[in-house]
């Protein structure tokens, strides 16, 4: 794991100054009888190894922004670049591949495939990518789950786990193909405070120890305060973007 991380870190350093994800004047309007503006005129750059919180009231467009940054949704205007690469006009096939290799998602609800075991769920993105051997995938999946304290639950089904455990499985799955970025939409929103704290620590460790970048939407201002940077949205626009180095 660390070898690959060093490699990706050097790759990032080689194009130093290029943001990991960049939104340029991004607007997303939902067409309909009454068109809804989800976000508008967003300019934003997420850099390597940042720990970013997106905050704001309910309905302010936090999720919408995250989907746009994660290439799950397409802007109506403007563009999103990943590692300097324009993605908005890519073929859908290529965006899918970018998600598979560069972006890991964690949603508020765990979103695991119910018929598969925890380990199989974590292996899913690896199998879709098809770079490791079957045993290599197993080993990596086992290591990831072990590092997140789920070593004893690998062969259970998602519905046999607690909410916090499932959310950590989702994190493990997001990390499966070693993406540089994890995007999390209220990852602790449905958890009690103890489980929330565990999931938060997992995300923090990804940034602090493994050089990842984490962008997390959260309601919890206390939690946001413990992150490096807070972006506040109101009515689909960024109203504040504060970087306070909260390391420690």
């Amino acid at each position: 794991m660390s070898a690959a991380d060093t490699q990706s870190a050097t790759a990032g350093a080689a194009i130093a100054g290029t943001p990991l994800i960049e939104a340029r004047n991004v607007t997303r309007i939902l067409s309909g009888v009454v068109p809804t503006t989800l976000v508008h005129n967003i300019d934003l750059a997420i850099r390597e190894n940042e720990f970013v919180a997106i905050t704001g009231p309910s309905g302010s467009g936090k999720s919408s922004l995250l989907y746009l940054l994660g290439l799950l949704d397409l802007p109506t205007a403007g563009e999103v670049l990943v590692r300097g690469l324009e993605t908005t006009h890519m073929a859908e096939e290529d965006r899918a591949h970018a998600r598979l290799t560069m972006l890991g998602f964690v949603f508020q609800f765990h979103f695991l495939l119910p018929e598969f075991t925890v380990l199989e769920n974590v292996m899913l993105p690896m199998r879709a990518l098809g770079q490791l051997s079957a045993s290599g995938m197993r080993t990596r999946g086992g290591e990831l789950l072990g590092s997140l304290g789920l070593g004893d639950h690998m062969n259970k089904r998602p519905d046999q786990l607690s909410g916090g455990q499932r959310q950590r499985v989702a994190v493990a799955r997001a990390l499966a193909n070693e993406p540089p970025v994890i995007l999390a939409d209220e990852p602790t929103g449905s958890l009690d405070s103890k489980a929330s704290e565990q999931v938060f620590e997992v995300l923090r460790d990804l940034v602090r120890r493994h050089g990842k970048t984490v962008v997390a939407v959260t309601h919890d201002l206390g939690m946001a305060a413990r992150m490096d940077r807070q972006i506040e949205l109101i009515d689909g626009a960024i109203v504040a973007d504060k970087t306070i180095n909260a390391r420690g």
Binding site: G70, L72, E93, A96, H97, A98, F111, E115, F116, A128
Partner: protein
């Protein structure tokens, strides 16, 4: 296991009952298609083989398709002349032995001489119009299955009495004649002959069994009042299916009208074509209905699994991968349906084959069924292809779904 297969199998396995219905639909379609094909093909083959074995594959008669040109035509080329009566020609094939030798030199099969006479058979108040055919019993086995179709006596019995005759079993039933009966033959030319029934034959073709009789060539010639007459050459080919083509060549070669068994039974063969059209229509309809079931279940699964599809797409699985999952599911249903349908089809055939029936048109008291792997292959292939087509549309729709819409809805 391959990821696509793995997920597809998981979806199908978790819905044994629902997919079971779809599989049963396909299996029913395949099973009944196989049964129908076996029945159709069986009766057709049965009938064809009777025709091929009973009648000569090609009959060369002393008629001509176009009347011979009038001498006047050849003399006055520019003028068209109407209303002339054709010259009366001497009946029979000219120089039959030489003609036969010429044909046997190139025709892939055997040629036999015969005399065909229309006669009325008289016996105990019955008058029945009959085709009386003069043959050579020693050569007959080379041109037809008549020797094998004899009942009660061999064909050589024709040598046993003067003016011996062998008649079809249905004809004998009609007139009530037994072996040894003395019947009278009468022709329109005024010939009159007493003959002794020495045996029966049974070809299985009703028309022949009730209106044909065989005598020696010599007897036939007496009946036709023309010594040395040979008015039909009977040809049997090694490959009866090539009769049509060879008949055409024989006709150009000899100038005599040569009729293949297919031509002689043209109306019957077109009946078979109609039957086949009906069969394929019904089979197509059954399989179409079966594919509705497949369409239905695949649509249902894609709806039930909308969230999972959104997850897979958000993880970065391609549209192709997601689509393949559901197409594979349709294929699993098609394959399972085909396999089960093979079993059902076979069992239906066995069951149908064991039913005893009394059918005046058939010889055996069982239905003739053709067991051939091509029916299975065809039905299976059609089932598989139609399942995939039925599954493709919902699969494509599912694969194009935007994950965000579903994720938003679920959050």
């Amino acid at each position: 296991m391959n990821l696509i297969l793995d997920i597809a199998w998981t979806h199908v396995r978790a819905r044994v009952r629902q997919t079971g219905f779809a599989v049963a639909g396909v299996a029913t379609g395949v099973g009944f298609s196989i049964m129908m094909a076996a029945l159709m093909q069986g009766s057709q083959d049965d009938f064809t083989s009777r025709l091929v074995n009973t009648l000569p594959n090609i009959t060369v008669s002393d008629e001509r398709r176009t009347p011979p040109p009038q001498p006047a035509d050849t003399h006055y080329a520019a003028a068209e002349i109407h209303g002339l009566t054709p010259e009366v020609r001497r009946r029979g094939i000219k120089n039959p032995l030489a003609s036969m030798a010429a044909l046997e030199a190139w025709v892939p099969g055997a040629v036999g001489p015969s005399v065909k006479v229309q006669a009325i058979i008289r016996y105990a108040n019955h008058d029945i119009a009959t085709n009386v055919i003069g043959i050579d019993p020693r050569r007959e086995s080379r041109v037809s299955d008549l020797p094998k179709q004899m009942r009660g006596a061999t064909l050589n019995a024709l040598f046993r009495a003067t003016n011996a005759i062998v008649i079809g079993d249905r004809l004998s039933e009609k007139i009530g004649a037994r072996i040894g009966a003395n019947i009278t033959l009468q022709t329109s030319e005024g010939a009159h002959l007493n003959a002794q029934v020495v045996g029966f034959f049974h070809s299985g073709v009703r028309q022949i069994d009730e209106s044909t009789a065989y005598v020696l060539i010599k007897t036939g010639q007496i009946l036709s009042k023309q010594t040395g007459l040979i008015n039909e050459l009977r040809v049997r080919l090694r490959d009866p299916m090539s009769s049509r083509e060879i008949a055409i060549r024989v006709e150009t070669d000899t100038g005599y009208k040569s009729v293949s068994w297919q031509e002689a039974n043209e109306d019957l063969i077109s009946t078979f074509i109609i039957r086949n059209i009906i069969m394929y229509t019904v089979v197509g309809a059954i399989l179409l209905v079966a594919s509705f079931g497949t369409y239905n279940i695949i649509s249902t699964i894609t709806h039930e699994k909308a969230r999972d599809i959104a997850i897979m797409k958000s993880l970065g699985l391609s549209e192709y991968t997601v689509r393949s999952i559901f197409v594979i599911e349709a294929m699993i249903i098609g394959l399972a349906g085909a396999a089960l349908g093979f079993l059902l089809g076979y069992l239906l055939c066995v069951a149908l084959g064991s039913v005893e029936i009394k059918n005046p048109f058939l010889d055996s008291d069982h239905l003739p069924l053709a067991y051939t792997y091509t029916h299975y292959l065809m039905a299976g292939l059609v089932a598989l292809v139609s399942s995939v087509i039925a599954g493709y549309q919902p699969a494509r729709k599912a694969a194009r779904m935007h994950p965000v819409e579903i994720i938003r809805g679920a959050t």
